[in-house]
Symmetry: C2
Subunit: 192 residues, 2 copies
Amino acid sequence: MSVQERKQRERAERERLIVATARELAEQQGWDAVTTRRLAERIEYSQPVLYSHFRGKREIIGAVALEGATEMAAALRAAASAADGPRARVTALARTYLDFAERNPAVYDALFRLDGGLAFAHEDTPEPLKDGFAALLESLGEVSGDGVDPGLFTETFWAALHGLVTLTRARRLPPEDTERRVKLLVDRLPAV
Amino acid sequence: MSVQERKQRERAERERLIVATARELAEQQGWDAVTTRRLAERIEYSQPVLYSHFRGKREIIGAVALEGATEMAAALRAAASAADGPRARVTALARTYLDFAERNPAVYDALFRLDGGLAFAHEDTPEPLKDGFAALLESLGEVSGDGVDPGLFTETFWAALHGLVTLTRARRLPPEDTERRVKLLVDRLPAV
DNA sequence: CTCGAATGTCTAGCGGTGCTAGAATCGAGC
DNA sequence: GCTCGATTCTAGCACCGCTAGACATTCGAG
């Protein structure tokens, strides 16, 4: 028994190592640099070992996304709870969102740009993802205004932030004015 | 002379064929399916011929993007000029933007998601791209409101639309409520 | 009209990718 | 110490973007 338990523990540990290494490599050099060969070399195992933990690269991206979602939700909630009043919460939330995206570009990509094989906005969406959206909803829902569904408002505000993140990162928007763009969103979209 | 002219014409014609074929293939099966081998086969030349026209795949994406930018600008201007009054223009503009993105996903990706080696928001940005942004600015600039730079307002509104497009396409947002999300943006972001 | 040079296009190949079949090794339990 | 199942590895597949160098074709000069 104990032997099997130890093996299971070691296996779980190795799985964490794979995810952590993939994330680290992606943050350092971008997801394109996360090849199964490089990843295998970094964890000091051969390539096929990766496939005994994950179906393929896509699932590894998905694992990084789930990890990131939990962190992002926590960051958003921390920022929101530190702010006073609905408007201040929205401002804090937006800043924290952009800040997270900027500090963790690879995680952000895994979450919202790449295909990690995860279901979104669906009943079988993994809990961390639902919870991330919930964290947004908690602060944004209270400023959606009469006649506007809080969920829909949250989706729209989120999309606006996501647009800022992706266009800026893709060098379609100059980064200098981000703060002013966020201010515009925060000033006008909420119903108060 | 005439011989050289004919050759140049044929060469230009072949270049158009490459771009059109790449675009077609990308719209049919996504950009991942646009490999140099497949593309070469479809135009009935060998791979190296592609490299006598373009530095690489990236430049082919860039060429498709430029073509698409011109079309998009035209579509946006047509929609705007058919609408009556600033608010109606903004609504028409937003709908046309999303419609273009939905009808031409590969072109949209070439423009705003992929690396086509093009400079944006810069002095040496290619004319079609500048013109596309100008088409947005013409309608959005008039509703930016006092104290808000029209360019900045346009960027922000654009980013919101882009966020809707990409999150919906990436299956992060359910597609059904797009219309209501757009309404929210159009109702709240403009200063009137 | 011929022939060398320039131009154009091709075949073949490089080092890389994600992924996998089957051989080799390891270690637990008798 | 041995056996046998689980684990890990080596080697390889088909594909990728890209390119060197061979080959064919066309052109211009004599």
